[in-house]
Every structure is written in C-alpha cells, then in structure tokens.
C-alpha cells in the first residue's frame, strides 16, 4: 500500500515537472523583454531553459514507467515481475513474464538526466554569480551555454553506466562507457572557463561568491571520481561501495546545494528587500565547505577498501578496522548539519530584521536589479523593460562605474553581440 502511494506520488510529481518544464520553455521562448535575444539571456536563465528541456524528455519517461509500476501493483499486470518468484515460501502465481531490468532501464533513462537536472541550474547560478563577483565577463559566454547543451544532450546516452553489473548484455557496458567518459570534455571546459576567467579578475569575496567558488571545487572533486565509475572494469569493484556515495554526493549533491546557497545569498535581498548577514554567511560557508570535505572525501577511501553501502549495521570482520573512519564521518556530518542552523537563523532573522537592501547591492547588470527590492507588482510595475545588451558588461568604464545595466542604452566599449540594437 505504502509503495503504491509512493509510486502515485512520483507519477503526480512527474506530471507537475512536465507542466513546469513546458511552462518554462514556452515562457523563455515567447515572453522575453524587448531586445532580449536568446544570447542576451543571463546564463542562469539559460541553465533553467536547458534543464527544462531535459526535464520534459526525462519525466516523459518516468511518468509512464510509474503508471506501469502502479498497474503491476494494483491491476495484476506483469511488466516488471517475472514468474516463479518465491517470497516467504509462497510462490507468487499472479505474475509472470515481466522484466525487472526493463524497470531499471526506464528508471535510469530518467535517472541520469535527472542528475543534470539537479546540477545544471546550480552551474547556471554559479556562472552568473561568478561573473558578478569577478567584475568581468567570462572568457566566453557562448561556450558555457553550448557546454551545458552538450551535457544535456549526452545525458540521454549514458543511463546504462548505472547498470554495468545489473545483468544487461556486457557489450552494452562499453557502449555506455564511452559517452560517459566524453561528458568529461564539456564539464572540463566549463570548469576551465570558470577558473580561467578568475585570472586577471577583480574578485569580490561575499557569501555568495564563496559558495560559488566552493561549487567549483566540489564540482571538480566529484567529477574526477567519475573517471573511475565510468569504466565498467573498475565499476565491477567499486559499484555498490561508498566510493559511489562519495562521488555523487560531491558532484550532484553538495555542489548543487552550494549553488542553491550561493543563489540564496545573492538573490535574498531582491526577494525580501533585506540583506542577509554577511558575517554569518561566511561562517556558514566555512563550516559547510570544510565539513563537506571531511564527510565525503573519506567516503572515497572507504569505497577503495570495498566498504559496501546500504548497510544499517556492520557485522563483518573486514569492516571493523574502518569503524574509526565511519565515526569521523558521523562527527563531521553532525557538525556540518549543525552549521546549517546558522544559515536558517540568518535567513529567518534577515527576512524580518535585516538591513534594508538597496535596489542593486551587488552592482549587477541583469534586469531584476533595475527594480526596487523587493520587486513591485508584476515584477516591473507595469512597465516593459527594453534590453540593449547582454548582462555581462563588467570591467569597463561607464557612467555607473565598472558595469552597464542591461536596460541602459549607454554605448559601451566591449560590444560583443550588440549589432542588433532594438
């Protein structure tokens, strides 16, 4: 019963995601401000757009998969249940001929793109915040967008790397392994552009930029352990160990959450009209950053020794020498969890008692910073903004300082794609 309710809720969730993705895609394509060409959209918006495209295709598979699962459970069908199973000495007679592997394929066809659904918005937010903190544009705005598209595209060809030892044909493991390794290339380009753009920049350290820089570090660390897991021969040993847990928590868990924290510190002033406390924000960053490494680096070591995951207790002899590592991880996890209370306090306290936020506290250029904090009704107070250039006009000399707002008609020196002024 509980499992059926769970499957139904996932199905409803899929419908919500599908409609949400459609809404986001159509809004992005149809309802942009005057002069806002696609290439003038902030990278964060691009990331949401690409994520929505991935979500539309991924949840379109999860929804029917869930429907089939529910039918298996309540309507007596056998999509996923084979015959001759014996549970508690009872032969299951009402099912025959289904394939559990089919379920795994359907689930992971959704499941892998879902990983990028989690990480791409964070990558977009981080790119946007990094540019604002570097006070300069990225080395290439377009390459970042194309890399995100490439990651989204490749995400549909690699689901089998979750199933190397699942009993599928061993030849297909090689087919899934190569595109998985190829994803390294756009991911490396993204990282190199984030780090390369830092060179020669005028980095401003704020809570938001600290979390954005932390994101890069996590993304690299978590991404590199993917080298191991993408190879079926190594996966034979590491599959089902803590190495996998360390890998995905670093890259799609903590990195994505760092993106969320960065975004919260960055946009909270705009949302609530009050600044968050920077000192508390920085303490939160230090605790989270160091704590996270203390939790998830040891996971990799445990995995290398072959410590299996999904165990509620260790009754083995061979895992006994590893118990101190587990204790260390537990203490680090409790510490990191406690540090999040600082964030919670900061968020709630600042919401009501924080310093009043100016319209544009970070000297950013995108449209949301042209309106009051919090924004007026209808976001722009009934007016229609006009956009004259892309949102990454930093590191220049203009009447407003080292940046030019997107809606400022001011002519600027570093014209990149302003040939078609409205």
């Amino acid at each position: 019963m509980g499992q059926t309710v769970w499957a139904c809720s996932i199905a409803i969730f899929s419908i919500g995601q599908l409609l949400g993705s459609l809404n986001f895609i159509t809004t992005t394509l149809d309802l942009r401000a005057k002069g806002m060409t696609l290439m003038r959209m902030p990278i964060s918006t691009w990331a949401w757009f690409i994520t929505s495209c991935i979500g539309l295709l991924a949840f379109a598979v999860l929804l029917p998969a869930c429907v089939l699962l529910i039918l298996d459970r309540v309507a007596g069908t056998s999509f996923f249940v084979p015959s001759n199973l014996v549970v508690s000495d009872q032969l299951i007679t009402q099912h025959s001929g289904g394939s559990p592997l089919l379920w795994q394929h359907l689930f992971w066809f959704f499941g892998h793109p879902e990983v990028y659904i989690a990480i791409l918005p964070a990558a977009g937010i981080v790119s946007h915040i990094l540019i604002t903190s570097y006070r300069r544009p990225l080395l290439s705005h377009k390459v970042v967008i194309y890399c995100m598209m490439a990651i989204g595209f490749l995400s549909y060809m690699v689901w089998g790397h979750h199933m190397f030892i699942s009993g599928m044909n061993p030849f297909s493991a090689l087919v899934f392994s190569f595109p998985t390794l190829v994803i390294t290339i756009p991911a490396t380009i993204l990282t190199l552009i984030w780090i390369g753009s830092l060179y020669g920049s005028n980095l401003q350290i704020t809570s938001a930029s600290l979390f954005a820089l932390g994101f890069i570090s996590m993304f690299v660390t978590g991404g590199i352990s993917g080298f191991f897991l993408a190879q079926p021969s190594i996966d034979v040993y590491l599959h089902g160990t803590y190495f996998v847990v360390g890998h995905f928590h670093m890259v799609m868990g903590v990195a994505a959450i760092f993106g969320m924290f960065a975004g919260t510190y960055f946009w909270a002033p705009k949302m609530f009209g009050r600044m968050m406390n920077e000192t508390l924000g920085k303490i939160h960053f230090w605790g989270t950053f160091v704590g996270t490494y203390c939790i998830f680096m040891p996971f990799h070591y445990l995995g290398l020794v072959g410590n299996v995951r999904r165990y509620s207790a260790f009754v083995d002899d061979y895992l006994a020498p590893l118990m101190p590592v587990h204790k260390f991880i537990t203490i680090a996890a409790l510490f990191t969890g406690a540090v999040q209370l600082i964030f919670l306090y900061n968020l709630i306290y600042s919401r009501f008692k924080g310093e009043a936020a100016p319209d544009n506290p970070w000297k950013a250029t995108s449209l949301e910073w042209t309106v009051t904090s919090p924004p007026p009704w209808n976001n722009f107070g009934g007016k229609h903004p006009v956009v004259y250039h892309d949102p990454y006009q930093y590191g220049i000399e203009s009447s407003s300082g080292d940046f030019v707002m997107q809606d400022s008609p001011e002519r600027i020196q570093t014209v990149r794609d302003d040939k078609k002024l409205p």
């Binding site: 084979p82 199973l85 014996v86 549970v87 000495d89 032969l91 559990p100 592997l101 006070r135 300069r136 290439s140 030892i165 009993g167 061993p170 493991a173 090689l174 392994s177 390794l181 190829v182 390294t184 380009i189 190199l192 780090i195 390369g196 753009s197 060179y199 020669g200 005028n202 980095l203 350290i205 820089l213 570090s217 690299v220 660390t221 590199i224 352990s225 080298f227 191991f228 190879q231 079926p232 021969s233 034979v236 040993y237 599959h239 230090w286 160091v290 490494y293 680096m297 070591y301 445990l302 290398l304 020794v305 072959g306 999904r310 509620s312 207790a313 009754v315 083995d316 002899d317 061979y318």
Partner: protein, 267 residues
Amino acid sequence: MGKIVAVTLVLITIASAVPILAHKWVPPDDISTHGYLIDEQMSDTMVEAGICFVAAQMILAAFIWMFSNRKPGDKIRNFPGGAMGLVIGAFVLVGLEVLALGFFGSKAWAAIYFTPPSADALPVQVQAGQFAFYFRYQGPDGKFGPIHPDKINESTQNFYGLDMDDDPASKDDIVTAEMGIPVNKEVRLLMHSKDLGHSFYVRELRIQQDFVPGLDLQMHFTATKVGRYEIVCTQLCGLGHYNMKAYLNVMSQPDYDAWIKQQASMQ
C-alpha cells in the same frame, strides 16, 4: 579573506591526497587471475585523476590568492589564449586521457566478460534469497536436478525446491551454505535469485554481479589463494540486507575433495 580561501583549498587538497599517496586505504590483495587487470586500470586512473584533482584545486587556489585583493587601479586582464585555448586544451588533453582510459578499461572488461569459461570449469550454482546465499554442486552424476519453485520450503531446508523423489538428477545434488572451491581451478558460477534483486560481491576476487529475478546469469573466475573470504550482498534487499552474507572457502584440491564429501554426507 581570499587568501584564507586559497590556503584552505591547498590544505584540503593535500589532506585529501595524502591517504591516497600513502596507500592508507587500498583494496585487499587480489586473489583472482583477472583481478590484476582491474587493479592496473584502477591505479592508472588514480594517477590521472590525482593529477587533474591536484592541478585544478591548486590553480583555483592560486588564482583566488592572486586576484581577490586587487588595488583599485589594476586592470582586468584576459587569461592568455582566451576561451579558445582552454577549449582546445580540454579537447586534446582530457579527450585523449578519457579515450585512453576507455580503451584500456575495455580490455580489462573484455577479459572478464567476453572470454567464455573453459569446458572443464567447475559449475557451482548460487541462489540468492532474503537474506542468505545457497550453493549447489552437481554431485557424481555431473547434472543439476530441475528446480521446482513451488517446492521451496525453508522449514524443511529444501532451499532450491528439489524433488528428491521423482528427479533422479537431484538425488546427489549437494546444497551448502558456504561456497567451497578448489584453488587454481576455474569456477563457473550460475546465478539466480529466488525472490528479488541481490548482488554477489567478493572484494578479493574483484567480482560483483547483480542477481536479477527471472534472469539466469553466469560468471567465471579462478581463485589463486587459499583462504576464507566474505561474499556479501550489495543490493538493498530488505531489513536483513546488512547481514546477508556467506563465506567463500578457497581450498587446496585434497581439502576440497574432503569438504565436498563431508557436505554430501550431510544432505
């Protein structure tokens, strides 16, 4: 603050790399004939991944150190080579690296999965169920008796659902809770699940394979070292999952012969 970030990053990188360099936590010694391929692939990958990890974190730290406290007059500069240099660098360096890893990794995979077992390999059947493994040997007739799922009964210890009365091939089958095998003899493992998904993992053998309900899967391996090793389940199969295990007992040929005789007498 920027300099503290940089120093912290360097310290974290060093702290992360030291246990790897010191070989503090390493896989247990390999006891299989194919495992060295996996181990070599793993250490090659470790070298490449380690270089990437340390280089990326150190460069990030260096740039944060250099550019977080600039004076008002300092001009914005571009990274030499710009985006195009980085894109080409990523394609050439990382592309070549992952292709190399992919190719060599495929060789190790092929050695395990694409080579058939030899004809005289010892067939051992393993059945996974909540929360135990049971092993079956053919006995003197060299045949496994057919399985009747409706006859499976834990209370009468008929774990495989064998029909001792009507199936002559079943009569000499030997069912055990521990997996005994002779050393340096190829074993053909015939795997099936009784109820739901499980997995067969022996770290020392460098083998891990899921059990899939409804599928009969095969593995083959040769153990090269006498000893007792743990076989554990790595797929979450229920509340008793953490305790689902069996022992792999690798014995010399005379010890194995004695062991299988003793098991046969206990049936």
